[in-house]
Symmetry: C2
Subunit: 195 residues, 2 copies
Amino acid sequence: MFRFQPLGAVAVLLLLLTADGAIPPPEDAARMARFVLHTCDWGALATLSAQEGLHGYPFANIFSLSDGPPGPFSGSGVPYFYLTDMEISVQDLEINSNASLTVSLAQTPYCKKHRYDPQNPLCAHIIFSGSVVKVNDSETGLAKKALFSRHPEMESWPKDHNWFFAKFNITCIWVLDYFGGLKIVTPEEYYSVKP
Amino acid sequence: MFRFQPLGAVAVLLLLLTADGAIPPPEDAARMARFVLHTCDWGALATLSAQEGLHGYPFANIFSLSDGPPGPFSGSGVPYFYLTDMEISVQDLEINSNASLTVSLAQTPYCKKHRYDPQNPLCAHIIFSGSVVKVNDSETGLAKKALFSRHPEMESWPKDHNWFFAKFNITCIWVLDYFGGLKIVTPEEYYSVKP
């Protein structure tokens, strides 16, 4: 049955009010890519399936992510993940680490607020191509801070799942944030953006 | 700058109140798959890229979808799309129609309301494997009604983009809605669910 949850409602209202405080102009595609990635707490990851009978087929799955602690447009731009080998897509990645990640403002209240259909270019979405790699020891602290600050539940996930930190190693970025088709952004342009 | 949009806020609050009125129990995986698909207005589609330099790489993109007019758990279960050959993923599909589609309750206020992390199994998500095919003449009416009722903006999209109706032809379904790993649902089980 329906139950009114005032705290949840307040959280959503706050998101509604803050989501487009800092949205970049569409001509700044690299900044838009950084903005959308930082604004999203999760994304859809495409891998090449390693499952029997589906070998090499595309496979889409959902993962929490973070490029840094929450807050108005800060963050490193690096999509960090917290993964386990028990996950079916992670098993794909062990065979072939190539992957694609997409994040959309449709995940936030922004598009509903402006009445932009999720497939309308103004409901900006970003596509990353590259690979998923384990984070090395020197980067673990950053990844952990980025993920656990936004996804506090992660700290209590079952230890016997052998969770590890990983990141999306970006080789190409497509930005759809305006009419006229996708814009390509290089990793250099993307990482040189100052939030 | 921040602007308060009372209509947008009311819409989100209504979603908050209705999203888990009818959520199926986790032991009924086929019903959960139908519920999540019907509750979502868009999904992430994975294809095999046909782009130069990326041939055969996974590619993730966002598309609006609908399995029927909005309303508490009705709908056909068929994910319908409104596509154009100008779209990069549609160009992939013309070379290889194999695809995977994922939808998640993280797209709705449900998971935030219950404080389920997007990667927590209780924030249910569904993965479909299959192919994307054009809808034939006898099904066009259904697809149009399903899509235009939920995505009224589509009717005004540029005619010169040659939009067409398509659907996800489901061959396998994975449901993650509880602890203990993915559950497999067959298309027969999925389509036999009475909403």
